[in-house]
């Protein structure tokens, strides 16, 4: 079970170069294991989407990867360093091994091509020798997989609802049976009913096909239910990482605690919603020490001077946190 499929080590992503560069992702370590759902949560601007774009090398300029490595472990064969792949190898790696479902459900499909064209071209690009009839059959199966009737293949994107479009994108992401599917706020643009439906479907598909999911969202409540482990990002760093149930029951980092108290629970007793005072840090002028200390209700002496390292605290085994309240007993093994 604990077999890594994607390892991110010390990844740094900047926007811009030199002194003017903004550090959007700072020394992020994250490991995705085979077949698990890893949730990545944080406020807008915390760097979670940048992380996803960075590890697939899709960063739009002026985004630059300034350090770290991303290692992909294929089912068979030696590990691959994604960041040093040649353009041709990178193209082969994309989608076949790691596919992405993007934030903009509405704009992810090219409006002038039929669904079939867009589903088939990715299969054709990666399996140029496959027969056209086989590709078409695969495309039909994929649509059925996400609960869309196969005759929708000939539709144009504008003829589908938002939920259907996003399901088409999920079908497309699964077209080449990748080991890793990155989902960048895949349900943000949809209403809650549709959200639930799609997530349910996704969970079921994962059971059946066994791919790992890196699920990025600002909606922590969604993750608590849906993911195996949750990583919390703040100011470009991972500040806490724990199994979903543990995190929900007891948040170690005050920021996680704040996030957990900013949405209502569907079941259980009513509790007061507090939210987090202040606003996310300005990436151009990050606070010294812990990035969260200006907003932290429990900040104390070392917080404004020293950056807390991410690691296993003595008082909570099996999880990582970067907070001076829970000093690290042993640093995370690299």
């Amino acid at each position: 079970m604990r077999d890594p499929v994607l390892e991110i080590r010390g990844l740094r992503v900047d926007y811009g170069l030199g002194d003017a560069a903004v550090h959007a992702v700072r020394d992020v370590d994250l490991t995705l294991h085979r077949g698990e759902v890893l949730g990545l949560a944080g406020e807008s601007g915390s760097g979670k989407s940048t992380l996803a774009y960075g590890l697939t090398r899709l960063l739009p300029p002026p985004g630059v990867i300034s350090g770290g490595e991303v290692v992909y472990h294929p089912v068979d064969g030696p590990p691959v360093d994604v960041l040093s792949l040649s353009p041709a190898r990178l193209r082969a790696f994309r989608w076949a091994d790691t596919s992405i479902v993007f934030q903009g459900a509405m704009n992810s499909l090219n409006p002038v091509h039929r669904i079939s064209t867009q589903l088939l071209d990715v299969i054709k690009a990666h399996e140029p020798r496959s027969a056209a009839a086989a590709r078409l059959a695969r495309a039909r199966d994929l649509l059925r997989l996400v609960g869309i009737s196969a005759d929708r293949l000939e539709s144009y994107p504008h003829q589908l609802s938002g939920g259907m479009r996003q399901r088409v994108m999920i079908a497309m992401a699964l077209a080449l049976e990748p080991q890793v599917v990155i989902m960048d706020e895949p349900t943000t643009a949809l209403d809650v009913v549709m959200q639930r439906q799609i997530l349910g479907q996704l969970a079921e598909l994962r059971q059946r096909l066994g791919f790992a999911v890196l699920f990025i969202t600002h909606d922590l409540s969604l993750l608590v239910e849906f993911s195996d482990r949750i990583a919390i990002m703040y100011g470009g760093r991972i500040v806490e990482e724990a199994p979903a149930a543990d995190l929900y029951r007891r948040a170690l980092h005050p920021y996680t605690d704040g996030l957990l108290h900013s949405f209502p629970a569907l079941r259980g007793a009513r509790r007061e919603l507090t939210g987090i005072p202040g606003s996310p840090p300005d990436l151009r002028a990050m606070p010294t020490g812990c990035a969260f200390h200006p907003r932290c209700p429990r900040a104390f002496t070392p917080c404004d001077t020293d950056v807390p390292p991410l690691g296993r605290p003595a008082d909570a085994p099996g999880r990582d946190v970067a907070c001076w309240l829970h000093p690290v007993a042993e640093p995370v093994p690299r």
Binding site: L58, R91, W95, I100, G104, P111, D121, V122, A125
Partner: protein, 325 residues
């Protein structure tokens, strides 16, 4: 389909309005054709001749405007555009028939070349921002801001002249008989190089610029990122995803520019004394040749309307979102 019929009905109405205007405008201009023939011949026409000219031009009937209008339509539907004064007694339809192929040949071919070349360069410039094609943009923008005719004058001053390969005027060597043979065709091509180059240079950059800007806009769309993430080849993303979508405004622009082939480059034809429709119109205006003017205006109007219809159809074919199902 319904949409198309609506458009056709709309264009028919526009054509009617344009033809009606075409009928009234010359009648509001002071003077009449006989008067202008008299002044052209400086009084050497006898009174009898003047009277017979009046009969010939239909100015003796004392019809009211409505009767004239009905007659006008009647003639129009029979393809009769009247007699030209300048090329008297040739009918207007013959004069137009003689000069239309020259204009369509010269301006039509250059418009098509200019569109395809400009769009292709625009795709390159927009896809690889900052490459050498992009560096050409200021120069082409400068060239496009120069009026055709001035560029034509400069071209004549620089390249044409005694002993030069490029003739400075006309559509073919004087003395040749227009025919598709080995003497006439090379001569016609030789005569068309300078005017064609002039039009090409000043019209192409418009296509480059608009295509480049659309490419840049489309490149930041989500579906382009998705196409990259899908691991499609760079070529496929650039052509099938970015250029395919960026092309839409350019195609409708192209269809519209087809409508201006007939009347749009009057000045180039004047500068090069090219025997096309624009040059003919220029002569007609100078000679107060109303029937010829009317005829040419009619051709221009119809070609603009047909081009508009083409633009609608092209958009319908290229952009599925405009098709209502």
């Amino acid at each position: 389909m319904r949409f198309l019929l609506q458009r056709v009905a709309f264009y028919l109405f526009t054509a009617w309005a344009a033809i009606t205007l075409n009928f009234f405008i010359p009648r509001m201009v002071p003077g009449d054709p006989v008067q202008s023939l008299i002044s052209r011949n400086q009084g050497r026409i006898s009174a009898d001749a003047i009277e017979s000219l009046r009969v010939l031009f239909g100015l003796d009937k004392n019809q009211n405007v409505w009767e004239q209008y009905v007659d006008y339509w009647n003639q129009l539907l029979h393809g009769d555009l009247g007699l030209s004064f300048t090329f008297f007694p040739a009918p207007v339809s013959t004069v137009i028939g003689d000069s239309l192929p020259w204009t369509v040949g010269l301006v039509g071919i250059t418009t098509i070349i200019s569109f395809f070349l400009g769009t292709a360069l625009g795709v390159g410039a927009g896809w690889r921002r900052g490459s050498w094609v992009d560096g050409l943009l200021p120069a082409t923008t400068f060239l496009s801001s120069i009026p055709y005719f001035w560029l034509g004058l400069v071209a004549i001053a620089l390249f044409a002249g005694p002993g030069s390969f490029f003739p400075s005027s006309g559509g073919y060597e004087p003395g040749l008989v227009p025919a598709f043979d080995q003497y006439f065709i090379p001569s016609a091509i030789q005569h068309s190089i300078l005017p064609a180059a002039t039009i090409l240079v000043s019209s192409m950059s418009g296509w480059i610029l608009s295509m480049r800007n659309m490419m840049v806009t489309v490149s930041s769309e989500d579906y382009i990122t998705v196409a990259h993430a899908k691991g499609l080849s760079e070529r496929r993303v650039a052509l099938s995803y970015a250029a395919r979508n960026a092309l839409l405004p350019n195609v409708s622009g192209f269809a519209l520019s087809l409508g201006f082939i007939v009347g749009g480059t009057l000045l180039v034809e004047i500068v090069f004394s090219y025997p096309g429709l624009g040059y003919q119109l220029f002569q007609a205006v100078g000679a107060k040749d109303y029937p010829l003017m009317q005829g040419i205006f009619l051709i221009i109007t119809i070609s603009v309307l047909v081009a508009n219809l083409l633009a609608d159809v092209a958009y319908l074919l290229l952009d599925p979102r405009t098709r209502k199902s």
